[in-house]
Symmetry: C2
Subunit: 506 residues, 2 copies
């Protein structure tokens, strides 16, 4: 014990506290994963109580005055919270986490948990019956509680800012609006040009593909991507998701549908993108205040990169298509690589966000942002949502959902109180292309490598510029450090235009 | 809130505290199950830290002076802890649990956890290399720590009593010795008589049986037993075990070996026996101080009942053998039901406890008890164990292990500090027959029902007389209430003698 001390006693104390909290939050993730993957129906009630017990303990441990004082002292110790040191950033991130825990009065937190639990159940029924009225009072309650939550952060520039900041640290509503305002006309314009052209044929994908072989293909692809099976798993759940129980255990899930192979194949790549980010954290940040991710948009930049920029590229399929043909000769033996590539990139305005192609996806997001802003500003009433949803779908995508299940009720997020989340999907799309462009500039040979099934350069570059840092840098900092620019729509639009010009002969 | 209060404020407080502790211990069980069933190798270190964090929190929550005072007050409130009320018994069980937590000084607890963690690793290596010397110093340390632990419970009748009591509440070393002294000569005598007879042929079982079909058969059998799949699962792990995350989620595991179908089939029934006990707790004891089991022997009485008394009976196979023949025609088409029944009941002294037949199993246990008593009394040195083990094997079973891996190193228990555990296996065997005899007396038609694949009466009887009570009654109380007698060896010996007289024509 004669080593020189690296940190002050108080800093050590913070690190110990956060290490324990990290353990507890990873335990909470185990409970959640098991609930999605394994839980027999009879176990639901007790599992809910177990998760709640753990949540209470975490709140008790971190929302105390003692922790507040510790963090205040450490803030003084490090001075500038934005200094480029692990200590300063650890205090900055811990302070933010502490404030989010301590600022919310326990009764409001409990009311929120109760309301979202009930709202989730109501949403499941409402969606199953395509009846928005079953969900409406619950959503109204949630909007009210989210407003109360946002008020705790006064003064703010916009009431939506505190919600957005939960998912995208440092990002303001005004920033997102400015980005989307630039993006929207270009997306709409591109879509119109595409609509005038002859669409590719993708009938081959609407056939029966054995689920077991879909999984074999997915596992093969993400193994080549660099997914570390010694530090992760792939299991079946009703929804694809990624979760982390530590640096050594990052798990993804998927679901397979016989008649829809594209869904499982691209989901596998998408979730692997999230998982590669989690597996790429620097070893020194294990159980550390900086062990998280920069933001949801940065997370999504990784998943969308592997799913779309790589996974829907010509180079990718020139390597992997023969393997897919081997597994599914009855479906694909007579489909050429070019026809397959064009088919999986067919642009088709559709009702469901998660099934949207690259050209239409962001429009689904913009629609949701406008609605969320209206709800929080008080200019949109919850009761009017179905009508507003449908008219915006018509305006942006030219189609009208046949019912609310395929419209306003399609996504789970609002039932869980996650208002402020959706924008990060579109921001992630933009960021993915910015990162990709810089990676290509640094490594012009990468497309050839992809065509040879090699992904080391890509993964290495992302590890170096993004993954290793955990939550040390805020999302815009990560982007500036890695690409020289904040998140901006131009590269994404250039990417889309180039891709679809080639496919659709625009 | 105008309901009449059922309990005093303090009793309510105890119930709330125990409900939370139950949630936490179920979370701990989830972590353990996931570690056995799913954990990628890279996740081991972090999972260990997660489990430790949870253990610390549970200790903090329950080993406080405040809890001690609460329990002391409640003891006064209920008066007789052995009164036949839920309140009295809840206080009794909670008091015992509290004392086990609070009596042990934290440094001793931490030393024990550290020693057993290291000992487990050493045992794995020692067993793999069949080299006892690698394990010897660790076991010596554990014996020393167990002695220190036992000393905390002075005065005791025997230094082994506090260890035994951890697994078998209320049972004394003298009781177990008296039972085993009656049992041993009769078991040895039976074995000698069997050895003089022509053994049945079980060559058919030493063939290749497709693992997937072994699992299909096991699932079919335990479904018929009454295993509730809405409140449980069956998964693959390296060892068969049962674990509970609540009344609504009781899981079992198994492992399948192509060349050894009996192992998986009987393990499935064994673990299902444990699980049926867990699923049979009264609803009112969910998250309650009495939610546990009476003891390990009572637990084992259930697993051995379904595995052996039922699962190795002629009636059982008269119903299930055709299904097994359907799955494995190449192995079994030409094997008659009688030959099959005799084959799976072949008596064969063997080195490994978990593979022992009914006639030899208890001898493996007696050997271990004698060694454990010697270690705790100080009459046996750890260094002499291999020699003592081998000479006792020769004496009881007439065979000598070829190496220590198949001898003194075969079981995991001692590496985890579980001295005092083994006897419960033999006691469970005895109890299983006593319960079965009473069940038959109450329901003489049960063997016919088994031959028709019906198990409702059996499960219903066990639910009524054993399962529902959780840990309300101590093991001997359960036995007296259910059968009119404490655990005693005569019924078991009568059962064995009758069974083998028929099979071996004694």
């Amino acid at each position: 014990m004669s080593e020189e001390k690296q940190y002050s006693d108080k800093m050590e104390k913070l690190f110990e506290l956060v290490a324990e909290l990290t353990d507890l939050s990873h335990i909470s993730a185990v409970l959640g994963w098991d609930q999605q993957v394994n839980l027999p129906s009879g176990g639901t009630e007790e599992r809910g109580l177990q998760s709640a017990a753990l949540g209470r303990i975490m709140h008790e441990k971190f929302a105390s005055d003692e922790v507040g004082e510790l963090i205040a002292d450490l803030e003084e110790e490090v001075g500038d919270l934005y200094a480029d040191t692990d200590e300063a950033r650890a205090v900055k991130v811990s302070k933010k986490f502490y404030e989010k825990q301590a600022k919310v009065p326990l009764p409001l937190l409990m009311e929120f948990i109760k309301a979202t639990t009930m709202a989730h159940e109501a949403w499941v029924s409402a969606k199953a019956q395509a009846d928005f009225s079953l969900f409406e009072p619950h959503l109204a309650k949630i909007v009210d509680l989210r407003k109360q939550y946002a008020e705790l952060y006064q003064p703010y520039d916009h009431i939506y800012d505190p919600l957005l900041d939960d998912y995208e640290p440092g990002m303001k509503t005004a920033d997102v609006k400015a980005i989307f305002e630039k993006l929207r006309p270009q997306q709409v314009q591109l879509l119109q040009e595409i609509a005038e052209k002859e669409p590719p044929d993708n009938a081959f994908i609407k056939q029966v593909y054995k689920e077991e072989y879909q999984e074999i293909f997915g596992r093969y692809v993400i193994t080549r991507f660099g997914f570390d099976w010694n530090r992760g798993r792939l299991d079946v759940a009703s929804h694809p998701f990624t979760t982390e129980f530590g640096l050594g255990d990052v798990r993804i899930t998927n679901r397979y549908r016989e008649g829809d192979p594209g869904s499982a194949i691209f989901s596998t790549m998408h979730e692997a993108g999230h998982a590669l980010y989690g597996q790429g954290l620097a070893e020194k940040y294990k159980r550390h205040p900086l062990s998280g991710a920069a933001s949801l948009a940065i997370h999504e930049s990784q998943s969308r990169l592997w799913e779309n920029i790589i996974g829907r590229s010509q180079e990718f399929w020139s390597f992997f298509y023969p393997s897919l043909q081997m597994l599914f000769p009855e479906n694909l033996a007579d489909v050429s690589l070019t026809d397959f590539y064009r088919g999986v990139n067919k642009v088709e305005p559709s009702f469901i966000r998660v099934e949207a192609d690259e050209a239409t996806y962001n429009l689904h997001i913009m629609l949701r942002l406008e609605i969320e802003l209206g709800l929080m500003e008080g200019t949109i009433e919850v009761g009017d949502l179905p009508e507003i949803w449908n008219s915006k779908m018509k305006e942006y995508l030219g189609i009208t959902p046949p019912d609310d299940a395929q419209g306003v009720l399609q996504d789970v997020h609002w039932s869980g109180g996650m208002i402020g989340y959706f924008s990060t999907y579109a921001l992630g799309n933009l960021a993915s292309v910015q990162l990709w462009d810089k990676l290509l500039k640094d490594n012009p040979n990468v497309p050839d490598e992809v065509a040879q099934g090699k992904f080391d350069t890509i993964l290495g570059w992302m590890r170096e510029h993004v993954h290793q840092y955990g939550s040390k840098y805020e999302p815009q900092e990560i982007m500036i450090r890695a690409t020289g620019s904040e998140i901006t729509p131009e590269p994404y639009m250039a990417y889309l235009r180039k891709k679809y010009t080639q496919i659709y002969d625009l």
